[in-house]
């Protein structure tokens, strides 16, 4: 049996997939559908706030339910989120020393409302994370 061509295909495929595999995995599964935009700035490895249809998570750890976060409508920030971010900032500062700019990436489902978005931004701002990036799926400039 001549398997040389099959081996060639496999070898090329493996290298292609290894090179293409990104460091940042798409988290959240079916519950998280990121919005789309025509942007080409690649995702950087930063602290990630994940907001899906029912909960807010930081670095993969669930912090608070969406409903709980929206319930206290008179508060402008989400208290557990601020506390978690402050704690993470402290811990990072203890390891790496103080830094001026603390970037954070928000991966949010496309159905969340601005009122929630505003609270998350206010919370990040209060915890002194000044650089917020919104993760989106790239449509590329050549599509439609």
């Amino acid at each position: 049996m001549n398997l040389v061509s099959l081996m060639d295909i496999f070898t090329i495929l493996v290298f292609f997939l290894l090179v293409n595999s990104s460091d940042v995995q798409q988290q959240g599964g079916d519950k998280l559908r990121l919005p789309e935009a025509r942007i080409e700035k690649p995702l950087e490895q930063t602290l990630v706030i994940l907001v899906d249809e029912d909960a807010i998570a930081v670095q993969g750890r669930k912090i608070v339910d969406i409903n709980d976060a929206l319930m206290n409508s008179d508060e402008s920030t989400i208290k557990p989120l601020v506390e978690e971010l402050r704690y993470l900032a402290e811990r990072a500062a203890a390891v790496k020393g103080p830094v001026d700019e603390r970037p954070i990436t928000l991966m949010a489902d496309r159905t969340i409302e601005f009122s929630l978005l505003k609270k998350i931004m206010a919370s990040a701002s209060l915890a002194e994370y000044t650089e917020l990036s919104l993760a989106v799926i790239s449509k590329g400039k050549d599509s439609d």
Binding site: L3, L6, M7, F10, T11, L13, V14, L17, L18, N20, S21, S22, V24, Q25, Q26, L34, P35, E36, A37, R38, I39, E40, K41, P42, L43, E44, T105, A108, D109, R110, T111, I112, E113, F114, S115, L117, K118, M121, A124, S125, L126, E128, Y129, T130, E131, L132, S133, L134, A135, V136, I137, S138, G140, K141, D142
Partner: protein, 170 residues
């Protein structure tokens, strides 16, 4: 003829046993395929005001300069200047979407008049979905120019700040 072929066969190197390698490939490929990210994730950068940042800046400096705002409402999209008031409102199109095309045309005109300006403030009503906000951000950030030599982006206003929309009647 026959003799020649037989000789050729006997000089051919023996086939290597590649079963182990093949097994490895068969396992590796589905694994990598599963973990491969097929949609490229990218980021939109925002700058948040530091806590304690006040909205009221020095009024004398702001008189002449244009401070561009986009007000995003359930039923309209308004381009406005913070100091002199609304410039143009775009109602929804017949398909119920924001009129991005005309909105971008207006921004392009403004950009042409003020080429050094990069800042824009997006003001949104509380019930607007994140998807729409990102869509508007994307369209106010850069204009996609379709050209025969390939598509490229023309920069509009990439420094986007976000805020809450004022009430309708104001």
């Amino acid at each position: 003829m026959r003799r020649g072929r037989r000789q050729g066969l006997s000089t051919e190197p023996p086939e290597i046993n590649i079963t182990a390698f093949l097994n490895l490939m068969v396992v590796l490929i589905p694994f990598l395929l599963m973990s491969a990210a097929f949609n490229q994730l990218t980021i939109l950068e925002l700058y948040l005001p530091a806590p304690g940042f006040s909205q009221t800046e020095n009024p004398e400096d702001d008189k002449k300069t244009l401070e561009l705002q986009v007000i995003l409402r359930e039923n309209s999209l308004t381009v406005s200047d913070k100091n002199s008031g609304p410039i143009k409102a775009y109602p929804l199109t017949s398909t119920g979407e924001y009129d991005i095309e005309n909105f971008q045309k207006r921004l392009t005109t403004i950009k042409r008049k003020n080429p050094e300006m990069t800042r824009i403030t997006l003001l949104s009503e509380p019930q607007i979905t994140y998807d729409k906000i990102v869509q508007i951000m994307d369209s106010s950030r850069a204009l996609l120019v379709k050209d025969s030599g390939g598509n490229y982006f023309a920069e509009l206003f990439p420094d986007i700040a976000v805020g809450e929309a004022p009430d309708q009647d104001e």
